[in-house]
Symmetry: C2
Subunit: 114 residues, 2 copies
DNA sequence: CGGTATCCACATCGATACTG
DNA sequence: CAGTATCGATGTGGATACCG
């Protein structure tokens, strides 16, 4: 997902509000900072990322931990509930990785026929 | 999903354009007619259902078969590619079935705290 | 029955600028 | 660094009516 050519960004089967699923995937290996999350989610504005993180926190998927430092540091981490969500989302990612070329070929063929 | 109280309709992890994932799930047991699909997808307007089905057909997920009869009959069916998509989507459905109460409880708790 | 055709409300998403 | 504040474009979804 950190690759600019990663197909996750164009998969038509993104989860929910477009970014939430990718955030969950980004948190697989442990806590991440706000600015770290902005990297793989290319193009996401701070506003939208904030909204996404708030929504996930509200639903008990992630925790937000702010450290009272200068400069400020905030870390987001999957909760146990969030971890249970990781699996089905990862399954969707696997599907996209495997079948996206087929899908795009079908799409192109369909468009050419019209 | 055919139950009015089914949680699938409120799951925050719906796939893609909100209806596409549910359509795939609806086609699990074989071909379905346009009007049949309108039943479990409560509230979907003909326009939106048409758009959803076109998009799925375009991506090679379903086939559309029109029978030249009076009155007209049209059936939609999963392609082999569409069948491969069924599994990860079903996994998301299972997740929702299992964890939605926990999620809603977390949400309510979060909202009460603010 | 299985759609189209219009029109519209609303939410989402984004760009930009600014702050503790 | 990690946001917030505004504002605006976009487009998705929906209500309603009509057609072959």
């Amino acid at each position: 997902m950190f690759d600019p050519a990663c197909p996750s960004g164009v998969t038509p089967f993104r989860i929910g509000d477009k970014w939430a699923g990718m955030v969950v995937l980004c948190l697989e290996d442990g806590p991440r900072r706000f600015s770290e999350l902005q990297v793989p989610l290319r193009g996401v504005t701070p506003k939208v990322l904030t909204e996404t993180l708030r929504a996930l926190e509200r639903d008990g998927m992630i925790t937000r931990t702010a450290y009272p430092e200068i400069p400020p540091r905030v870390e987001y981490e999957l909760t146990p509930l969030g971890r249970t969500l990781f699996e089905p989302i990862a399954a969707c990612r696997e599907w996209a990785n495997e079948h996206l070329p087929t899908l795009l070929a079908a799409r192109e063929s369909f468009d050419r026929a019209r």
